[in-house]
């Protein structure tokens, strides 16, 4: 007996919707095994991870705060992946966005400034992220350099640049030698949605971006171009689409969204620049994009789910003394299962007896 994969003629709709759910279910089963192996009661652990973050208003608010950057980044990554551009450097684009916007906040710090500062910071963040993302895109279109490698390696460049800035030229003189900048001025801080909460206008911006992307992908010629280049590059040339221009565009959009997420995080949630600005949003967003089937609305749902695991992971650290790495393991498992389940979309597994017997 052996297992063969047969190509499906048509993918049933039920499977298209069911495959991410199956991946989530398999991740849960694996999580239970891991918790048990770590000597924790799996049921309590699952509750702490997945139920507790959604059980009260403050928990839900925290989930939204975490989901906002994930969704923003994943929207751009989904465009890249749909068109066969493997941008995995969103973490770096996120940080460069935070630095570009943060530079404006620091440059105007203490000086008389007006309401233009924040919009200019957001724009600078988006532009900074976009320009940084254009480096691997240009290397790919000009020299054929593999964008997976270049975009990934640029993450370390961005991380070390931020590290150097906050330890060196941008360090807060009154910061007791901590590697942080000054806290931004009130004009340079993203407005909160309601008093006493932590939700800022980044969340509605992310929702707006989801809506725009959903229309772009499904209704416009540009969205069609992105899908066609990914599905059949030769047919895209036959349609007269310029693959290189599209590579530059999707990298710029993805970098812009990641940069925007970066400055929203720096000027909204953290309110300063510091080395640990991102708990790996740029990498987790890769999982979000695939779990969301590279679909904008799917990215929204998947972003919320991954945010729950972030909050759950923090809860588990506090309440169960589980290391944060367990969260990383679970996120990795989730991506693994998502990709494995996608195989079911394209192929039908079948057991066959070998005929030679």
């Amino acid at each position: 007996m052996r297992l063969v994969l047969e190509r499906r003629a048509e993918t049933p709709l039920l499977l298209k919707l069911g495959s991410p759910l199956l991946a989530v279910a398999l991740t849960l089963v694996s999580a239970i095994v891991i918790f048990a192996a770590l000597g924790k009661d799996p049921w309590i652990a699952v509750q702490v991870y997945f139920i507790l973050p959604l059980s009260d208003f403050w928990g839900i608010q925290e989930v939204a705060v975490k989901a906002t950057p994930l969704v923003l980044i994943a929207l751009g990554l989904a465009l890249c992946y749909r068109s066969n551009n493997w941008n995995i450097g969103a973490e770096g684009q996120f940080l460069v966005g935070a630095m570009a916007g943060g530079w404006l906040a620091l440059a105007t710090h203490g000086a008389p400034n007006g309401p233009w500062v924040l919009p200019a910071m957001l724009a600078a963040g988006a532009i900074g992220g976009a320009l940084f993302a254009l480096i691997p895109a240009l290397l790919k279109t000009r020299f054929g350099a593999n964008e997976i490698l270049t975009s990934l390696m640029l993450v370390y460049v961005a991380e070390l640049l931020l590290d150097w800035l906050v330890r060196g030229p941008w360090r807060d003189p009154q910061g007791f030698n901590m590697p942080v900048t000054v806290t931004f001025e009130p004009e340079a801080i993203v407005p909160i949605l309601f008093d006493g909460g932590r939700l800022n206008i980044g969340t509605p911006i992310a929702l707006l971006a989801v809506a725009i992307m959903a229309v772009l992908v499904s209704r416009t010629l540009k969205g069609f171009e992105i899908r066609l280049v990914g599905e059949a590059p030769r047919a895209a040339r036959f349609a007269g689409f310029d693959e290189k221009k599209l590579t530059l565009l999707v990298f710029a959009v993805a970098g812009g969204l990641a940069g925007l997420a970066g400055i929203l995080e720096a000027a909204g949630t953290v309110r300063m620049l510091q080395p640990g600005l991102s708990p790996g949003y740029g990498f987790t967003a890769i999982i979000v994009a695939f779990l969301g089937r590279l679909n904008p609305v799917g990215c929204l749902v998947a972003g919320i789910f991954l945010a729950v695991t972030f909050i759950g992971g923090e809860n588990a650290q506090i309440m169960l003394r589980l290391p944060l790495d367990v969260t990383r393991v679970m996120q990795g498992l989730l991506l693994f299962y998502v990709l494995a389940c996608d195989t079911l979309l394209l192929y039908r597994p079948r057991l066959v007896r070998s005929a030679a017997a």
Binding site: E10, R219, F224, L228, A235, R237, F238, A239, G240, A356
Partner: protein
Amino acid sequence: MAAPLIQTQQIVKRFGALVANDHVDLTVAEAEVHALLGENGAGKSTLVKMLYGLLQPDSGRILWRGEPLALAGPRAARHVGIGMVFQHFSLFDALTVAENVALGLDGQEPLPRIAERLAEVSRAYGLPLDPRREVWQLSVGERQRIEIVRCLMQDPKLLILDEPTSVLTPQEAESLFETLERIRAEGRAVLYISHKLEEVRRICAAATILRHGKVVAHCDPRAESAASLARMMVGAEVGSVRHDIAAPGGPVRLQVSALSLPPAEAHGTALKSVSLGVHRGEILGIAGVAGNGQDELFAALSGERRAPHAGAIALDGVAVGHEDINARRRRGAAFVPEERLGHAAAPRLSLSENALVAGHAANGFVAKGFVDRAKTLGWVDAVTKAFDVRKGPRDPEARALSGGNLQKFIVGREILRKPDVLVVAQPTWGVDAGAAQLIRQALVDLAKGGAAVVVISQDLDELLEIADRMAVIFHGRLSAARPVPGLTREALGLLMGGSGFPAEESAAA
């Protein structure tokens, strides 16, 4: 009577819901050239892949000299004495002939001995080959010889040839037939897969005809007419295309002047000073063996690759060499590439989206950047109706259609635009006879309506049927176009083999 050499009994092979072979019986005697006839998709390749151990039957038996035979793989098949030459060669371009043969042999022979034996076998069968040449330097016909010699070196009792003449010039085919006769005279059997009826009637003493996976007849092709064989193969009378040769002398709608283009990839073909002119109401056929620059010519005509100077290509007198494919479409040109899936159409996108592939620039499907879905769907309906595209749902994925129906869709997608100039490559490649007839008639009718049509094809019969004038492409050069009436296959075959082209060309190859 002695047991036949090989026999299949009630062989069944399924792929998912498709029954590719449905209780097939086939009997090949020793020293017999046996034809396996059928249209594309009739199940011929599936059957021989089982005989060569590449596929396993779901049920039924294979008998070898009366004994049941189980083939775990090609190596086992070669071991009992079955050799096969595939339609698509499995050769390494960068290796020599001898090295390629060595890789295909199962034993541990040293290379010099293989080269020696190779030279011997190729002499004995009239298949001239130089063991030291590298494969990329060889013509398609020579490459096929390598595959045949490689099989013969293993002393097979049965040699299976899958559509061997589809890549050959008429003259090359002729010498292949002589080789086959020699092989048969030695007592070896040949299973000859083809859908070319005339050659089957010439060289085969027995035939098995498949249709939709089932055996519809066993017969002696020499006792049949080509028409009766075709009827059995297709299951219906195939109409012929109505075509009156166009009166020459309308205005030139497509003009190509001294177009040269370096190859796009390493082993591609450069176009060398290609010139042609197609008049209003005329079909120009471009014949040639595959790989002589057809792909490059199509890319240059369509604008997928720009010409080095604008004047190299003109549509209705306007220089368009520097324009991209969509600009040319807006000027009334339309294009049908050779590859259906992946080039003309995206397999996993729906037909309405595939309508957009070729029509987004010139068909009014897009307003202010937004796609008008009602219009693209309406276009699918119109093409479906006009070209009899058979499909289940209204708007399925392209890959869900059969080859013939998808081809009708992608040709119809362009013809329905009523283009002034149409360039089409391999319009009926791998398409059933009914669909092929419909497509050819549509091309003829389009030209009659005043368009200029270029048909690039390797199918000489097709070109002779529909073209008004024909040119031959060889090593990136295009011969002068000649009127089809009075053109002989022999003359075309010589051009396809390179004679008649400037001498430095064949020396440079």
